[in-house]
Amino acid sequence: MKKSIGIASILIAIIVATAILSPNFLTAYNIENLLRRTALFGILSVGVGFVILTAGIDLSIGGVVCLAGILTPYLLTQMGWSPTETVAMIVLMSIAIGVLQGGLVAYGRIQPFLVTLCGLLMFRGIARGITQDQTQGFQGQFQDLRWLGNGRISIPWVEHFAVPAPVLSLVIIAVLSMIFLNRTVWGRWMKALGRNPSAALHSGIPVARLQVLAYAICSLLAGYGGLLFVCDVGSAQPSDFGNFYELYAIAAAVLGGYRLAGGEGSVIGVIIGAAVMQVLRNAITLVPWLPDTAEFAVIGIVILIGVLGDEFLRRYAASRVRTQTKGIS
């Protein structure tokens, strides 16, 4: 929790600044939108966090989001599957993708960057092949399933504000992730593996199996995220659905305190990191004098400032620990 203070203060700073600059920022409607987008991107980011924890990387997220995003309406409308069958298929397919990629990394000893980069291209290609590049939409049906992405959960006695349904998914996923990482043997081992893979191997930890597990969780959440995205948006185009989402997810994880070298990170931090990205994009539209064209520049600068500040704090803390303990050695 302590690790997330840096990023949390950045989030608060951006929120305060935007609230001052735009009177419409703190409206119930806008907050709902922000919560929903943060939840959608947050799910992807929590997933990639597992892989980054083990010092790996997953670039295939955008591809998996695309494949899941177009398969959901495709299976429902073109193939006539039921929502239950469709969701089951998406879940199984996503896990299979993760196991395949994780297996190539852990047992095939191929660099994760390479494996998942190929995955990114492959899954989008498959999506385009299956649909012949046709946009896939729900055609106004399946509102029950789509509730997962665009639904609202009203709060008793609160009239103009409701919690977007994806937030529920994110909360469940985040709680399960935290329990897994902090309360289970495999979670403990996964963190240890990221900290020192060699010591993990020498401690008899099933390193390869844990790596596969991390990729499986990541792809599962990417697939589920893709499903939620298409439920929210209503349709997906194979050629660009989910483009760059892997980078947004990785950026949020790094902003949230994950070290790409592995072993370090918190679920809460990642979610705050995802929120920072979404609030920034929102602020650019809402603040009248911020040019829309500067969007990526602003996001890039803020991420850089965040990571620099975090690194500075980390070094400061480390130097204090060192001076306190140097005498004993």
């Binding site: 309360r183 289970t184 043997v185 495999w186 403990r188 081992w189 963190k191 240890a192 900290r195 020192n196 060699s198 010591a199 993990a200 191997l201 020498h202 401690s203 008899g204 930890i205 099933p206 390193v207 390869a208 199996r209 072993g263 370090e264 620990v321 001076t323 306190q324 303990t325 140097k326 005498g327 004993i328 050695s329």
Partner: protein, 513 residues
Amino acid sequence: MIESAPIVRCRGVGKRFAGVQALRGVDLDIRGGEILALIGANGAGKSTLMKILAGVIEHDSGEVHVDGVATRLRGVREAMRAGIALVHQELNLAENLDIASNIALGREPNRWGFLRGRDLNRQAREWMDRVGLEISADHAVESLSIGHRQMVEVAKALSMDARVLILDEPTSSLSMVETRRLLGLIRTLADQGVAVVYITHRLDEVMRCADRAVVLRDGAVTAEFSKTALNRDALVQAMVGTIRQVALAETALSDGAASARGQAAATVRLQVRGLRTMAHPSESIDLSIGKGEIVGLAGIVGAGRTEVLRSIFGIDRRLAGSVEIDGRALRGGRPAHATRAGIALVPEDRQRDGLFAEDSLCVNASIVRIARESMAGFIRTSAERAGVSRMIDLTRISPVRQERMARLFSGGNQQKIVLSKWLMSDPTVFLLDEPSRGVDIGARAEIHALIRESANRGAAVLCAVSDIEELLLLCDRIIVMRDGRITGELSAQDATEESITRLAVHEREECAA
């Protein structure tokens, strides 16, 4: 030898780290042409003192004179200009570069920025010959043994025209032959006028080669011995003080326990048949270890001892052969399988392979045990903490703080943490690779006691140890290896330094040594 004026003279040097007085007024003279042994328990302040001299840190009271002039050594470069070089215990080499590039690092012979490879190699060759490194200069450092890396470090220091050469535990990971060669080398260097400061835990080496020995305890000099006055018991006494005389008691303890274990050793616990390792694919290893028996693996660096341990545990692939525990074959070739079968391995390089440095003592100690104690995969936190607490009592890790990060503990305590990790899971087969490397003599005795304790509870212990004194102290039986092959087996009673060395070394090499 003529009593020359000291090159470096310390007067009342003190250093404080946030509340801890690491050095309290140390007086020390370092003279050219002399080998000065600096000894003391872990935490006595040896490393701090040497880091001050090498410009890594600055002292905050007292004076340091170089060539009679009071100076402050700000930074390693300044110390180097004054002719002081420190060879760290944790070697600082660029692993991906070759030997020649490492020796010349930062001072590469070049013309207009272009490297002159031939000069680079020729110069490196000179220094390598001086330290007796008889391998090609274009080997990558990562392919070298720790012993060879040590020599590269010494060569590098010499190449910088060091007048004062500080060696921080240089022999802790060297084999007998390499140790002898290194001791011969520093004698030659001293004869050429270099001042050698030699930090070590090995008292036999001090006895053998030091011209003078200074003992530090709790940041102050407690005793100084001239060559003629060197005396083993007095050294230990000065090091550990009167409170912790564990080291002296160890010899007596080992005799009694060994005979008691003799009976139990009849039942075979670990049986290795036809083991072929990647390092020596043409050699085949057979060995069997009884219940409660402590077997030592002796041999020079590169004899294949580490590879045998790693192959049994599954870090390295077994090319052939079987491992049986209590008559049941070990299935699966990965460390996870070995761990489940009750095998434990304490690796040689504890920083790299043993410790989760950024994790707490608690996490480190319980990492293996939690799997056995879990409920449906969930960690039982209270049971975990209680188990670790019991283990801290047993191993006397200090400070007693479960949440403290592992890297903040001293070397000896870190090694105890790695031992705890396995002791908590009560191994049936306990493999140890240099278990007391880089720990002081008091902690070494404690570690030995823990190993004996584990054997007494029935573990079959196999440990690779380079220090012959330690081998004789710890083991019931000694297996000697050379070039990946078992060349002999000695009982603890029959083994002597001579008999072990003869089996460990080629005839030719023995003559040279």
